[in-house]
Symmetry: D2
Subunit: 375 residues, 4 copies
């Protein structure tokens, strides 16, 4: 559905949360956007540049109530808690407007049972899933495009952790590098913005500065989303997913270290104690790295790092890139993939904009071309 | 070998590195120590309180050359790079003094082949290993005590990562909780003090602040040390070890998240997509947690956290504790152990002092009783 | 009032705030203390080691209601918000127990007007000030001792900023180095623990990490406390005080940079543009530094740094030291004093303990001997 | 001098230092720039995206030797240590190319004596100052434009501290708000990128994390640059400048808190101890704030914050803004100005680009329109 009008007005519901503010920041520089209409329940009537003084002199707008933003906008982004945005999606569908949702409401398609099991509530308007699509472009860009031409669309934009995990695993499963059916372990850490803007003890500066810890071990809601993506990749029953999130003392970024048993392991001389990686192992790693690089060759936002590179959240700051580095353990039996991205960009607002670009046939990079900050 | 003299003089070789400075800080408050004699090649002739101004008014000593410190001391700690301390160990043995080494030189006993494969150099005085013992008290306190009464002893004090990994794995292997022979994955992150005091680009503030990344994936020197410890625990051939270190933007701390396949898995109803942990899974986790707690019941420095606790580096700051929390993945097939410790204390100086306490029959907690800092 | 009993039980009201937790940490290692009785309104009935898991295995106590802690204790510390502790002070006086208060309630003696102007409330029991004394030992140790022998005492333990400011200014005013009556500027920055344990947007990790800003410019409540101290030092009307606090992205520490016009300025050749400090200026700075050092020679917790030293919060971490460095501007007209201390120790809990030590005639360093952490 | 060619090629000498890398980042998105030609002595022959992996896929170029970059470029930026760039400036002048220098070489015009006194070396080609101009646009935009039409120009782009200080002081001096001739105190703190990319102990992560300290007190090289700017503002002899820099534990940002005695003070009832600011004081502060706002009304990169606003480095991150907040002390005698900017943008690369925009008649905001990052 190409936008043929002269103007393109974007509504942002939940504009004062961190993901919402990041949408504002990025859309303010988007070449195809005429106007941003931000909305907020908590701060309705205030100005966005009062809530986020960094926007003073750059972005200026009164925060509307969400319904008003829907009415005024050509396309609507929603950065709301899971479970409260369906009504706006419905309104958008009725008004023929695309709705790009950053919550979990539309990430599970018609598998309401899985959604309900993890989020503790049913779908409100289950029928909306007939118009929704999971918005991980690298996984189903074709499907997004296909639906976009048919009428107004709902994007279930992926969670931050599932993006980093899925992009790291996809080539291994798709190219048969991974051992079929073996459990995949995702050990990931997020910056504190991932916890949102609402103050709480967990994210109080002295509680999380200079400290590192896992949380919700074996019980994080992103586990089924990752699992579902793996099922999609293999077109078969999924490999079991074991996912451990951590909170790291930094503002932005998600690093995922992913352990994928290899289908075909290096055959090395056995020793009682491990040895540094043999030449066969490093060669094998390089070969897999090249296959990863080829797999993502045409993806604008996935960078498979060159030989010797290591994914680091510091290298993707404020960009929509997902960096991937490819490694093997010293015995050549386990593929170790590291992925790094900015949790607020590729993990939230940037990816949502990428989806908008796909829907409207814009350059997929539009509004997302700024290089990562060096420091 | 009990110390029957009136005085106890401690020599510290390499006193100006971070581990050395931490030895000074902790030994300054040790009730059994009469005097600290610090030595440094780089800063010989300067005063320790000039190199570390935090010590002004608390610790005051000229930095000697290492040989002089050996001569004056009753017991010698060496916090030197691997490969340069053997001569001092030899001198200590000849002078009948215990030598507690924080490098890797004495961590591999008579397995010189493994040492050489990873550290790129042979043993200089291989025969010293007849008097050396690996100093992880929770693993072989009895052996340390046994050797201590026979004459001067060399302690190969463990590496920081191997300590956190080994303590997390030991009960699982020892109690038969772990599936026999299955690969164990250790995903760990260290604070920047782990990189030492010497400035380099990797540890330059703007390069590592607000960033997270793995390093030496599949190729870190601590892998064989962990593996050797696992062999020791099982009294059999080791489970394969896959170890990935990360650098985290914090000063102190090592967090290890360890994935151990269970010998006996929960039998749960199979579903296409994962569900939150069932009651059987949480009960099983609690049962294993209790076994861990019982296993370490008498250990002064291992805290198996109560139900619901999660290991966090922020809770062990500046203490010799290793905190352990016990978890299962949502399917009940994988044991997930998190361990947290201060890399400079239990991961270096504190553990070395714990070894000294064992050797001399001091209270094992002597000098190590300060509560962890709350923030 | 010396403690002649065999036991010494310490009550801590407000034990779960940051200053309270720091009291627990430090008193746990105090050689004269038999037992700690912590109390908390918010967490009454829970255990201190549940609220602060770092204390597990080290400190173990149920949190009582404050009244119960007063009853059981020989001496009571109160780390409460200003305005709520007077009743406990009254109870202590009635029970003949010393009361050491970390709020502002007892910092202004009988100048209720100033207290009320800044804190917006009157004294509840004004008569308590007959038994209270301002607890900055370096300023009025003699007075504390004098009152302590007469009966139960209330200590108004100083604010964090006033401590760092006052210690930096005292010699300059006392020795006539400062120009009489000229305004003194204190530009200071605190770590985030200074904001307390209660979550709020200002201290939410992503809001204050990697950022620096002043707050309450020209309107901070510590201004009159500093001013009052200056009046005390000069035994005359105070120099005007200009005080600007900042919030710095760190856990602990207060750095104060203090600008004091010199009574006697260096007479240097005038130039249109400044020149690097002439020899006369650096010599003058050194002379003043020596006078500062002599002034504080016998103070156990004030370190006037040697020539070339610069006060840094990183060098006093977790200690009760206040470090002072002495500088002049390049023209030799302005004395610039930098003071650094741990805001939670010398700025709160440590100073309160120092006061207790003075009252009871303990070694003033008791419980406060741990060297500052190097990192 | 308008660029009338079809292409605009920018050379960057010293492209691998932090300021150089920031030039690359910003110029990569500059709408008028055709091509970037980076040069580096240390990394000549390597690719910029190898030295800064964050640039992979965004910026791709081999690092030339500086001379080659000069030859190929239409305009040359130099981000070199002071004292090594004059030869390149000379070459540019000879080739008729504008040269924008980020070192101190061209900041002192013909006052070589002051330059030499602080930087310890003479000018190499003193005659180049006939073509150079100090590049603080808010101070002398007109002069830059005037010289730009006459031929190739050298910009002496300001130091980071002098920018924040000068912009905060300019209205006070220019509008007669400041007391004539009274000393102005600038207490400022910089993020660690200000120390450059070269590893050293001062900027080693564990040495500066979680710590705050002043440095070069009374002796920083930026003092005479600030002083010279003040002379320029008053068109008369300068107010004495007292400047104290600090190192703060953050990557980016400079905060300056500036104390300026008022020409006309509020007349308040005198009291022995200070009172919170009276209405007259807050009204006076607001009046001065409005004059500041009017003064900078047309400046694209200076934001005088609205009433109640406080300058914070966290609000200008990655932008070319200098935020200014206006305050008075509680007695109404001292103007307190806080300014915040990104030391690498308005304090270095962004300002240099702003100068380029002025020279070439581009929109002054070109390449500098991205909103500050919210976190």
């Amino acid at each position: 559905m190409l936008n043929i009008a002269d103007t393109m007005i974007v509504g942002i519901i939940g504009a004062t949360g961190y993901a919402g503010a990041e949408l504002v920041r990025l859309l303010a520089g988007h070449p195809e956007i005429t106007k941003i209409v931000p909305a907020s329940v908590s701060f309705q009537g205030e100005r966005i540049e009062e809530v986020y003084p960094n926007f003073q002199g750059v972005v200026s707008a009164v925060l509307l109530k969400p319904e008003a933003a829907v009415d005024k906008a050509d396309v609507v982004f929603a950065a709301l808690p899971t479970g409260v945005g369906e009504a706006f999606a419905k309104a958008c569908m009725e008004q023929g407007k695309n709705f790009i949702d950053l919550s979990a409401d539309f990430r599970f398609d018609d598998d309401e049972a899985t959604f309900t099991a993890w989020y503790g509530k049913p779908y409100i308007y289950p029928e909306l899933r007939q118009r929704s699509v999971y918005g991980l472009p690298e996984l189903n860009r074709a499907r997004i495009r296909e639906l976009a031409v048919r009428g107004p669309l709902i994007i279930g934009s992926p969670g931050c952790y599932p993006t980093g995990a899925s992009l790291g695993i996809y080539p291994a499963l798709s190219l048969g590098i991974a051992a079929s059916g073996a459990a995949i372990i995702i050990d990931a850490a997020s910056g504190v913005t991932g916890g949102g803007r609402e103050p709480s003890r967990s994210f109080h500066y002295p509680e999380c500065a200079d400290s590192l810890a896992p949380y919700k071990v074996g019980a994080h809601r992103h586990t089924p989303e990752i699992s579902r993506n793996l099922t999609f990749m293999t077109c078969a029953s999924s490999s079991p997913v074991i996912f451990t999130p951590h909170l790291a003392p930094m503002n932005r970024g998600i690093l995922s270290t992913i352990y994928i048993p290899l289908a075909e392991v290096c055959r090395l001389e056995q020793r009682a104690q491990p040895r540094p990686p043999a030449k066969a192992v490093t060669e094998r790693a390089e070969e897999i790295r090249e296959r990863y690089a080829a797999f993502y060759e045409h993806e604008p936002f996935v960078r498979v790092l060159p030989k010797g590179g290591i994914a680091s959240t510091g290298r993707v700051r404020l960009s929509n890139f997902c960096d991937i580095s490819v490694h093997l353990d010293q015995t050549g039996t386990m593929l170790i993939i590291a992925t790094a991205m900015d949790n607020m960009v590729k993990g939230a607002a940037g990816q949502a904009i990428q989806n908008m670009n796909i829907i409207y046939g814009f350059d997929e990079r539009a509004g997302l071309t700024a290089p990562p900050a060096s420091f």
